[in-house]
Symmetry: none
Subunit: 212 residues, 4 copies
């Protein structure tokens, strides 16, 4: 076990590549800029990654995937009231993105999805795998909710999950093109209202993480 298990050039490149592609798109992103801002040489990049495309793949696998897992999937584990938890995630993430300013750049996964899915099968399959996992997570949680009685019985978990993921894309897309905080909040509120309609008892309105 080395003291610093090398300065981990590879990880550094990945992080700056994520930023670059997030801000300029994949095609518009520049490897030169990445290595410059990361403070490493071109050779280092090509030592760790076979090319620009493979770097993009790695960004999805090693950066975006884990973010999705920790932000959207893990919090749902064993949720008693899945619709309420999902609504809470929406509200919390919207607030986080508005505060951090990253809401202007949209959702990293959706950005790559829209830009690269039709152009490269490697991107498409990786992105699709993440969205599939996302839908499956929601589907399972909602199905459990139906069984436990927290979700209305007539709800189709799979269909609702598909709509919720699609709506997530749409909410962040709306934010990006409108650059209007209120509109983004309104879109998120509409999703929350839809989620409320899935629940059995229309209980207390507010979840944790609300902002004034």
């Amino acid at each position: 076990m080395p003291p610093t298990p090398p300065p981990n050039t590879r990880r550094k490149i990945l992080l700056f590549a994520f930023e670059e592609f997030y801000h300029h798109g994949f095609q518009g992103g520049s490897l030169n800029r990445i290595v410059e801002t990361a403070g490493v040489a071109k050779g280092a990049l090509f030592h760790h990654f076979a090319g620009k495309r493979e770097l993009g793949y790695a960004v999805i696998d090693e950066i975006i995937g884990p973010i999705l897992e920790s932000r959207w999937l893990a919090p749902l584990a064993g949720a008693a009231d899945p619709a309420a938890v999902i609504a809470g995630l929406f509200r919390r993430t919207v607030n986080q993105d508005v505060r951090s300013g990253s809401w202007i750049h949209g959702c990293p996964l959706n950005n790559l999805a829209q830009e690269m899915s039709p152009l490269d099968e490697g991107f498409r399959s990786r992105i699709d795998a993440l969205y599939s996992a996302w839908r499956k997570c929601y589907t399972d949680a909602l199905a459990a909710g139906v069984r436990s009685g927290a979700i209305r019985p007539h709800v189709d978990p799979s269909q609702a999950a598909t709509l919720l993921v699609a709506a997530q894309m749409g909410v962040w897309g709306t934010a990006k093109s409108s650059q209007n905080r209120d509109l983004m909040r309104q879109a998120a509120a509409a999703v929350c209202a839809y989620l409320e309609g899935l629940r059995t008892q229309p209980t207390l309105r507010t979840q944790k993480g609300e902002t004034p």
Copy 2:
């Protein structure tokens, strides 16, 4: 009456530019390819448009805007049952896109929105104007429905319109990254189910243009 029954090079460039940007994105789109496939010279392109960016603006203004108007906005004029009409538009357009194969490339407007909104204010404002018009059209139609009794009274037309437009983005985004016809249809069905929930009397399920 123009001097020559115009060969309308400008229009030809616009159409091929739309195709190019639709298939490769704006940043990935190549002016060389556009003039090559359009069969015009570089000089002609730069005679009609000041540069790549202005060509992109013109594509939005003169191609995408009218498509949006004729496909999604005009059919809603004076609709007695707006939720049903919107649901019909969804089903019809999904079917059209699946048949034409264009569903793989997503929604032209959404593509540009995701790629260019944060990078260029000219793109952002034009795209936002179209989405705003879209939302306003839905809002007005739903509000009229509330007044006429076709839409449930507790529905917030503006919020529902925002969700519907966001969901449209999401449906086509889902299609693009999954390249799965059934998933796209499921997403569209979820939107239609949501729309059904907005209506006062749950009448006969099927609109024109349904496919199994």
Copy 3:
């Protein structure tokens, strides 16, 4: 005799072409900019001039030549004390150029000479003709001064004229690259001192047109 002998598009083009080439050089000058600022169409330019090169020739023949004649040559006609008159012209023109701000761009004729003489024989011969006329004018005036006794007898008029024209180039060149008014004035003063040394009697220092 027409009232306005057409709006004289040709003349307008010439004047704006002179400005353009004066400010951007001939190679760097843009015909598009010329016709744009002149408010005429490309066709008009190519109707009056066979091409960029011929336009440049016409600028020399019809704009720069007359300016040279009226500013530097005509005032010397029949001068009793040629060295004093030439010195006065230097001082006056330096002051004019400093006031008008054109000193930063140097001498229009010298600019074209340096840029185009080795590249195009048409330019070179026209420019050389103007400089030859300039030198001949000085030579004749100095020779007359020698005969009249205003100029010291041992002075070689031709050699002195050559030096004076060369020094004029150098003064304006110095001004352009230094962008230093004092240095330009110092260079002009050195030329005047040289001229003073050509005169027979070192009389009163000041000529007309001095500035404080």
Copy 4:
């Protein structure tokens, strides 16, 4: 000790760039021609220089500056009779340029000065620095001559230096636009006569390197 006994691509590019700009001007010079004649790739050029402008800067700093130093400045170091040395430099350099044929293209520094000084501050300041050094060198040498008695006491060293540098511009400018060897020699002779007038004792007329 560099890794490989360096093929010194950078130096090769600089030399060919100097030639290109000397013959076609900076704006008229073509990077394509430079890399082609130098036998290097475009990428190599842009690896060593940030762009055309920076390449031009480097040509001034690394090629023209040293030439000026070695040809005009260094020979004056510790000259006992500065006016005679300067006159000798003029005669020698004129002869060199006539023999090599480069006199047709004028003075590389003056060419760039006339073309680029008003267009780009980076060029202007670099060029001005060289001319300032040139003037300072002459000024110091003449001032030393005044102190040692080799130069007449009433001579203003600074003013004379300014005139000499300006005259150098003019001599080479005259050569370029006239393409007349005799005229160039006459102009140089006029400068030498002027220099002779600065000296205390009018000694033997001829310096080394005279040609008929």
